[in-house]
């Protein structure tokens, strides 16, 4: 396995005629262009999902009052007189979850950064299947557009939650069919991408790039791709069954003698709604690690670079990432403790859930110990990486009570769960993704992002995110249920109602912070300080071995790898970073 390829000399393969604009920037097969396409698209989806969340938060904090500014532009079927309808609230909830997970964070972490950085880090000229890569993006875009356009379906978009629980979803308005079709496109796209990542990592490593010399980021992307290949088809199978239930009136998830909307459902039935939950969570728990692993990789790169010392416990990190990958397939039913599961089954899933927290904690501990004794550079990416550690820690630790049946049965379906997974995905993944963006922006566009605006963005975001998600934990512990259109309807919600206003105002502040980011992004794109090829003095091939931005074919010379990925501050070396591809004799002090 460790025999690595010797590539033909650079230049021989890269004789490309000047491609027309459309082939170069629109229907491009270059992994860098596709990565940037994915990045911009997924950030737009993040913005749209965030806007939906703002509308919902307005309704929760000020129920029954017209939505300011946007309210009067919404049609009668969504918000007559600017006041949100319950059906519209449900649609927003389902679409917020779907868009954020499947069209926002995963494509940004996996498809955008993975596509752009992974081939560069292993010393490849492109992905193994460039055409498939392009196809992956366009299929993804079709899926995303279908998903958003489903608001225009009669009865609106999908409204059974992002989990699409049956039999409700089986009998919901046609928007749900659109959800299933759009998911099929998204699953296909992620399958194309994952095949590419796996084959590229296996097959296109530069000479000398052995498995234990791969940057941790590559390991994370590789494990993520394996999860995508093995977990997503199961949801595809479930979605196919649900589609058959909806379109062809099959009986997979329709129980016998079902009464819906006060009338009996005229179908033989006999199906099992719980089957859908199993199929869904068999995907959706590995999906949680798809949301996280690439971000672990990003944080690892930033921390090694920002502390100017080797990452603590590289081997342990690799073992943890692989362990998380394997274990993530046997924990799914901890999302279903409320479904009346037998106690011996819940015991199994409680134990596996506790076991999987061990490698996650190992990763976090390795990152923390990496800081020890380093000369920490508080640059922008490093700020985000440092904020990731405690905030992801909160997200992870608040998850433990949800793994135990006795506490989970109380906390499940309350805001505690929402607080927990938003701490993981927003203050964890999203913060890391922002860090990655500030880190690789100079490589992608040849210019630095503005430091001052970046710091404003950082402090507003971190503060506001905590303002949104910490009150959720408090509300959840006091018993406030999730997915409620009007929290004033239940008496036990009243003591914590005031927190809803805190959250909504924090969300608005967070929106203001993102405007700073958007301004910074476009300002830096055109007017930012020009970047050298290796502005962070990093050791990995993406920085040390190619210009910023890299040309078509990535590398101007042949790459041979001589050392591990994080050789910072090596004694007797001339510089405090020792790039992977430079032979020893050129680095040692004379």
């Amino acid at each position: 396995m460790e025999t690595t390829a010797s590539h033909s000399p650079a230049g021989v393969h890269d004789v490309h005629p000047d491609l027309p604009f459309v082939r170069k920037y629109v229907f491009s097969t270059d992994h860098k262009v596709i990565g940037i396409q994915y990045m911009i698209t997924s950030m737009l989806f993040l913005l749209s999902g965030f806007t939906m969340m703002l509308l919902m938060r307005w309704q929760i904090a000020y129920p029954g009052t017209p939505i300011p500014f946007i309210g009067k532009f919404l049609p009668e079927t969504m918000a007559p007189g600017g006041v949100m309808l319950p059906e519209f609230y449900n649609q927003l909830g389902a679409m917020h979850g779907t868009i954020m997970v499947f069209l926002g964070v995963v494509p940004l972490g996996v498809a955008a950064f993975g596509n752009y950085v992974l081939p560069l880090q292993i010393g490849a000229k492109d992905m193994a299947f460039p055409f498939l890569n392009m196809l992956s993006y366009w299929v993804f875009l079709i899926g995303g557009v279908l998903m958003l356009s489903s608001f225009a379906m009669p009865g609106g978009a999908a409204q059974s939650g992002w989990t699409s629980y049956v039999p409700l979803a089986d009998l919901a308005p046609p928007g749900q069919t659109m959800w299933l079709i759009a998911m099929t496109f998204i699953i296909t796209s992620s399958l194309f991408g994952a095949i590419n990542f796996i084959v590229t990592t296996l097959n296109l490593r530069a000479k000398g790039m052995t498995w234990m010399r791969l940057p941790f980021f590559v390991w994370c992307q590789f494990v993520t791709a394996v999860l995508l290949v093995l977990a997503f088809p199961v949801l595809q199978g479930g979605a196919l069954l649900q589609l058959m239930d909806r379109v062809a009136h099959a009986n997979f998830f329709i129980p016998a003698n079902l009464i819906f909307g006060g009338a009996p459902v005229e179908r033989p039935g006999g199906g099992n709604p719980l089957l859908w939950q199993h199929l869904f969570w068999f995907l959706a728990h590995p999906e949680v690690y798809v949301l996280l692993l690439p971000e672990f990789g990003i944080v690892a790169e930033i921390i090694a670079n920002g502390t100017r010392k080797p990452l603590f416990g590289y081997k342990e990190l690799v073992i943890s990432a692989c362990g998380i990958g394997v274990l993530s397939f046997v924990v799914w039913a901890h999302h279903m403790f409320l479904s009346g599961m037998r106690t011996d089954v819940t015991k199994f899933f409680t134990i596996t859930t506790m076991i999987i927290s061990i490698p996650s904690v190992m990763v976090l501990t390795c990152f923390l110990l990496s800081l020890r004794g380093g000369s920490i550079h508080f640059n922008l990416p490093m700020l985000f990486a440092l904020a990731f550690l405690p905030l992801f820690g909160i997200g992870g630790l608040t998850g433990l009570p949800l793994g135990f049946t006795p506490t989970d049965i109380y906390l499940h379906d309350t805001y505690y769960v929402i607080g927990h997974f938003h701490y993981v995905v927003v203050t964890g993944s999203l913060i890391a993704l922002f860090g990655g963006l500030y880190f690789w922006f100079p490589k992608m566009f040849g210019r630095h992002m503005n430091q001052r605006l970046g710091k404003i963005h950082f402090w507003i975001s971190v503060t506001a995110m905590n303002g949104i998600f910490f009150p959720m934990l408090i509300q959840g512990m006091s018993g406030v249920l999730r997915r409620q259109f009007d929290p004033t309807a239940q008496i036990h919600n009243h003591p914590t109602l005031i927190l809803n206003k805190v959250m909504t105002i924090s969300a608005l502040i967070l929106a203001l912070g993102q405007i700073v980011f958007i301004v910074n992004f476009f300002y830096s794109l055109f007017k930012g300080k020009e970047a050298q090829s290796n502005p962070w003095n990093a050791t990995t091939l993406d920085w040390a071995a190619c210009p910023s931005p890299p040309p078509h074919g990535n590398f101007t010379q042949d790459i041979a790898v001589h050392r591990g990925p994080y050789e910072y501050s090596v004694p007797n070396h001339k510089t405090d970073w020792s790039p992977q591809h430079v032979p020893d004799q050129q680095l040692v002090k004379s």
Binding site: A128, I195, I198
Partner: protein, 199 residues
């Protein structure tokens, strides 16, 4: 890099593992296919064993002999597919073309039998709406049928390129990929046949 972008491009460059990209790619793809059919098959098992409303129609309604014939046809087609690859590996282009035609014909016979079988089932009152067995039967065989159509299309492409003289003993990876996929499609049927007809 050729200017025509192929989905599974057979690159001549040496790879880190020594296995061509396309071969690794098709195996990873099949892994995902296994999970897709695996999810359907395990759903079938769960409901068949767990649902009191799962009524299996009597065997005489299921046209077992016809389905057995179909199984036989697909197994034959797997053999001919192996022969096609073996032929081109010995630079026997005529033999490859003949065996590929036989493989495609077997696939078409399979689909033809299915188009007879479906209306026959409807006649017997087994439809996708009639109950859990019908739902599973038509969804699983339907999805498998789509895969057969995909396999026939893949083989047809290999055949047309073969007639044009594109394959040789040193350049026949895609014939092998088509074969790997076709064997998988057959294998799925070999699992579905006892599950849906015999048990």
């Amino acid at each position: 890099m050729s200017s025509t972008p192929w989905i599974l491009d057979a690159s001549d460059e040496p790879t880190s593992t020594g296995v061509p990209h396309g071969k690794l790619g098709i195996w990873v793809f099949l892994a995902s296919e296994v999970m897709l059919f695996g999810s359907l098959i395990s759903s079938y098992i769960v409901l068949r064993l767990g649902s009191t409303h799962f009524i299996v129609p009597p065997h005489e309604f299921l046209s077992v002999p016809v389905a057995a014939l179909n199984t036989f046809v697909l197994i034959i087609s797997s053999v001919t597919m192996v022969m096609a690859l073996a032929s081109i590996q010995q630079d026997d282009r005529k033999g490859m073309i003949m065996y590929l035609i036989a493989t495609i014909l077997c696939g078409l016979i399979f689909l033809g039998v299915k188009t007879w079988e479906y209306p026959h089932k409807w006649h017997e009152g087994i439809t996708i709406q009639s109950g859990l067995f019908g739902s599973f039967y038509f969804t699983m065989t339907g999805l498998h049928g789509l895969h057969v159509i995909g396999g026939i299309a893949f083989n047809l492409y290999i055949l047309i390129q073969g007639i044009r003289g594109k394959w040789s003993s040193t350049h026949c990876q895609r014939v092998e990929y088509a074969g790997i996929y076709w064997h998988f499609v057959d294998l799925v049927w070999v699992v579905l046949f006892p599950l849906l007809y015999l048990l």
